[in-house]
């Protein structure tokens, strides 16, 4: 499993949110994308996941250009964002069953129970999403994403609003996801956690890639410097 972007450009009107970005994510690895607000991180993630068609450039998975509208591609990707994407009036189990059926799982109920167990929240199954804390909802959102066992997991600020225990639990699940045939792409402001998890680090500023390096070569203080104009591009 490999994922690559070639000269990606995504614009909102005259503003280039992503401006000529190239990157590669190797199999069995976690890529962390950092950058200040408005750097284009979420737009890049949307282009990589196929949610948004880039204005220029191409996203390639396993050597083939992806089409976001392709159902097979959508079965291969999962998304966790700071907004949980749960239906508040439904119970946790109903939420999971709904998405399980949409993904064509034959045994959606069993998969839902296993996914809840994997995120350490089997006791939440009968609760409506509206009565859960943000941390609990985020666990359920992760369970929903793991339901169909995606090859590529995209995370958009997943630690936002999580307490330390919730963040630790999410980190543990992400570490487990690092395995052959799988990729994790993580967009976050949380440099410390991101660096702890990542194998490779990309920093964006004003839509452009200013750093693409192995995690071992990166230090948080140096990355913060790259967030500002005074930092020198790689």
């Amino acid at each position: 499993m490999t994922l690559a972007a070639r000269n990606l450009v995504c614009s909102y009107g005259p503003t280039r949110a992503v401006d000529g970005v190239d990157l590669e994510v190797a199999d069995d690895s976690i890529l962390a994308v950092f950058g200040p607000n408005g750097a284009g991180k979420t737009t890049l993630l949307k282009a990589l996941s196929g949610e948004r068609t880039p204005d220029e450039g191409v996203v390639v998975a396993d050597g083939k250009a992806i089409r976001g509208s392709d159902p097979e591609w959508r079965c291969r990707v999962g998304l966790v964002s700071h907004r949980t994407g749960l239906y508040m009036k439904l119970t946790v189990m109903e939420n999971l069953l709904f998405f399980g059926v949409l993904h064509g799982l034959a045994k959606a109920a069993l998969a839902a129970e296993e996914a809840l167990a994997a995120v350490g929240a089997p006791e939440l199954a009968r609760h409506r999403a509206e009565v859960l804390s943000h941390g609990q909802r985020q666990r359920v959102a992760l369970a929903r994403t793991l339901l169909h066992d995606p090859d590529i997991l995209f995370l958009d600020e997943p630690f936002s609003g999580l307490d330390p225990n919730g963040a630790e639990a999410l980190e543990a699940v992400l570490r487990e996801r690092r395995s052959p045939g799988r990729i994790v792409v993580l967009v976050t402001h949380d440099l410390r956690r991101g660096l702890r998890l990542a194998d490779r680090v990309v920093v964006l500023r004003r839509g452009r890639k200013v750093l693409d390096d192995d995690r071992a070569e990166c230090e948080a203080e140096a990355l913060v410097g790259l967030f500002t104009d005074s930092g020198s591009p790689a």
């Binding site: 996941s49 196929g50 949610e51 948004r52 068609t53 509208s69 159902p71 097979e72 959508r74 079965c75 990707v77 998304l79 964002s81 907004r83 949980t84 994407g85 749960l86 239906y87 508040m88 009036k89 439904l90 109903e94 709904f98 998405f99 059926v101 949409l102 993904h103 064509g104 999403a129 909802r137 929903r144």
Partner: protein, 224 residues
């Protein structure tokens, strides 16, 4: 078969959430019954109920449907669920049809309550065949539900919000309301089927057209 399953499960999800919150359907039905009550106060002594009931029926159902359409995507937007729905392998057509099918239930309920309320408040002793009313109101409800789903999405993503809904919906639904009121008035007046079938067929054609155009535009609006 997969598409039908998707449509069914999306409609099931919307209806389950809808009946648990309860607010929208209750508000739509209350609005329609209250409107009929006020119509009977203002017009009851001036005109015969059977002469105006069809127009009032369709006007009330149209207004109540639009008032509810703005909330079609509330649950989707509440915590970003729509992004995940769009990222699932479900086709855009199935999402639209599932949500329109869920919208059909409140619109049909509103139509039924409005018909009953008009008959009651205007004291119409012989309102015509219930089966014929249903045959006319059903395609109307389908068209209104589909249009409401589409325009609900458009208004959600416009800075004008719900205030945009009537401006979009009224012009697009003029033919539906016109032929619906024509057919319903003939049912109220107990005219033979030969006189009703023409506008009824046109009504079904328009409803199917609204659903088809809605599904196409929904896909266009939700891509990217």
């Amino acid at each position: 078969m997969t598409s039908l399953r998707w449509i069914g499960v999306i409609a099931w999800k919307d209806l389950r959430a809808e009946f648990r919150s309860g607010g929208r359907i209750a508000a739509m039905i209350s609005f329609s019954v209250l409107a009929c009550f006020l119509f009977s106060f203002s017009l009851g002594s001036l005109v015969a109920g059977r002469d105006v009931a069809a127009g009032l029926l369709w006007l009330t159902v149209l207004l109540a449907s639009i008032s509810g359409a703005g909330r079609t995507f509330d649950a989707e937007e509440e915590d970003g669920a729509f992004r995940h729905l769009l990222l699932s392998p479900v086709s855009r057509h199935a999402i639209f049809l599932g949500k329109a099918a869920a919208n059909l239930v409140p619109v049909t309920l509103v139509a039924a309550f409005t018909l009953f309320a008009l008959t009651l408040f205007f004291r119409i002793a012989a309102p015509g065949s219930v089966a014929l009313h249903a045959a006319i109101l059903l395609p109307g409800a389908i068209g209104l539900a589909a249009a409401g789903t589409l325009f609900g999405l458009i208004s959600r993503h416009s800075s004008l919000g719900d205030s945009l809904l009537p401006a979009l919906t009224f012009p697009a639904l003029v033919p539906l309301v016109f032929f619906g009121a024509t057919a319903s008035s003939r049912v109220f007046l107990d005219r033979p089927w030969a006189e009703i079938s023409g506008p009824a067929r046109l009504l079904w054609g328009i409803a199917i057209g609204v659903v088809a155009v809605g599904a196409l535009l929904f896909r266009y609006l939700t891509d990217d």
